[in-house]
Amino acid sequence: MFRRPLALVTLLGLLLAACGGSAATTTATKSGSASGATAAASTAPKVLTIAYTDDPTSLDPQKTPSVGLVHSLIYDTLVVQGADLQYHPDLATSWTIAPDGKSITFQLRKDVTFSDGTPFNADAVKFTFDRLLDPKTASPGKSFLGTLTSTTVVDPYTVRLDFSAPYAPIFNSLSTDFCAIISPTAVQKEGDSFGQQPVGTGPFIFKNWAKGQSITLEKNPNYKWGPYYYSNPGPAQYDQIVFKELPEENTRVLALKSGEVQISDVPATSLSVIQSDPNINLVKTQSQGVTYLGFNVSRAPWNDPKVRQAIAHLIQRDPIVQVGLGGLGVPQFTPIPTNVWGFDQSVADQEYNYDPAAAKSILESDGYTPGSDGIMTKGGKPLSMEILTYTTQPYPRVAQVVQNQIQAGGIQVTIKTLEAASLLALTPTGNFDSILIAYGWSDPDILYYFFDSANLKTSNRVHLTDPSVDALLLKGRTTVDPTARAAVYKDLQQTIDQLAPWIPLYSIVSETGISKSVAGVQVLPSGTMLLLDAHPASGS
């Protein structure tokens, strides 16, 4: 064998060539379409390349647990939420809510077609919501439709949604891509593989998905129905958007610096490197969510609100944000973050401030006394808690800061980290003291899932059972009038504040690096990037 080293090399070469066969076909469609575009235009196509972490589960918005930028470019929704946190027309031009709040009638745009040529009309809207409700679809996003029972086509451009009970969060749901309108003909044609061949009415058209590598979208040349927040209603100024999968964060930063991608998230650890780069702008986005320390209120001693209130007085949010997050956070005081509709500043102002003396006197009035080692003790039992959190940063780091702060008040604290699936499986058993986790959503009705006693076995992880909270949560989701609804959530924030099942800590702030060769990118409060106005910067 060693007399024939060339034979060995040839064999390896053949093996490689054999492997290349199928690999080449995956990329062939991509390069084929790209060269087609080049041939058609006399100038080179304008391509925007964006880094992303991990393949989306599915590009079918009804078959994915999370929707992202790719979905928002392929699809449109009936309404959109603007920077003012109000809902504005998109595919629906106007709507009327019945006096009993149990039905909403939408007037639709008449000038819209799906990218496969299917006309957009009331039938498409009905098809979309019927499919989302169908148990056979088994959609993770089905819960967002709440009490929706049926969708009725009134005339080709009028559609009515009927509810068994008023469901106030519906506008927020309709503005998310879970409720994006999908092409009925494409779904019927593609069946289960619609998620690999998605068709919507959005500013970009799906072109190719090389799993684990990239997703390529092409400009929708007929798009001219962009919602109000764009200065240009369409079509887009970039010919192509390429999403490049780069799972490793250092790789993403290097790719951004070298210009291989023009847009990428920037982790806190790499901020200084990007800040000093003259070719990159940084844009901050505050997430519409809260990271909190939640107590298992079904377990002693955490079932005692005084203990929870005392601990709340030991928390200092600024050091948590500085040390735990490298400054990339906004302190939060109520379960509804500052940038979500329904947040109430007056409640946030009354929240527990840092006051170790108050914490000590609350505990002492509750029967605790400091032992010789400084640990607060009641009935011979020292006060000690375990914080359960995820293994991924920043959670362990934040948990350590919280641990130090609570320990300073004479309470023993240990930290236990678990990966997501195990942690989420553990909380319904009630076999834990406290959890440090986060949520994100753009409507306060989300609190129904976290605090209502109906959800004890699932998302009510702190095991809160309180009739007044349940009543407020129900009122919040059934009160359609925004002013009255805001008042309900103010009451709710106050009640939760008193009960202190959660100590809200902060909202994450993320930094996005955008090459200076790209101009016109806007970011919504939800974090969604708006790319219809994006264009190559002049001079580059």
Binding site: L15, C19, Q213, S214, L246, E248, N250, T251, A421
Partner: protein, 309 residues
Amino acid sequence: MGRRVAAAVPVLFAVSVLTFLMVHLAPGNPVTLMVPDYASPEVVAQITHHLGLDLPWPTQYWLYLVHALHGDLGSSIRDGTPVLAEIAARFPYTVQLTLVALVVSVVIGIPLGVVAAVHRGRWLDLGAMFLSVVWVAAPSFYLALLMQVYFSNDLSWLPVAGYAGPLFSLAWLKAIAMPSTSLGARTAAILARLTRSSFLEAEQSDYVRTAHAKGLTRRVVQYKHVLKNALIPVITVVGLELGGLLGGAFITETIFAWPGVGRLGVQAIFNRDLPVIQGTVLLTAVAFVGVNLLVDLAYAFSDPRVRYA
């Protein structure tokens, strides 16, 4: 030969049972990871039923086995794509990376070991062995990061990450250069050390003394007699390493955004995507068993004393 192939069947069966059990004994319902926090219990139940995850797990395993024997490895519970298609799309990339890494490690490792042995005790030997210790000790992600900073960021010679085709083109070479080197460095170091010690051992044997006594030149003895015999254990290790590299390229694939099967498997583990986990583990086992079979054959080919019926 036939008996050796048949012996692989119980191995693969055991692998499938073990992976199935491990995934099922780990806490956590995969559906809780597939739905948003706010999904109602009914929605969770609906999806669980839809995926057949509410069946008792012996039934689930039986169904899996029956389908697998018909060549159907099931579909991803996350995105519904057939596992076999998903793996078939990813596997070529892993094989490309592995083979190139192996070539890199053989081309660097074996000559380095020979040079070290021939110059035993002198500075060339020390230098080569120092280098191999560094390569074994440095984690592959560290080496990868250093290369990315130097070759992509500072010099702009190579792309930071990602696959580029077509095969054997300049773009492909540029794309595969860093991943294969960082993946192959450890193997190169192992091969260098092994070649060196094996070479020194062979030098002590009787036939080498005979060859010298016959008056052959030092060079002829070293390359025709010593090296040829010294390489027998090296082939075994190359084979084992090939199996390991095929299954263990996950870190390199992640850092360099290489669309291979290792990354697919680890993503599946995080998502508790049972059919995909089963598929990738089974594939890795098949590859490992297959590679070892090939190594045994190569063994027989290079050493006339070894024969398989």
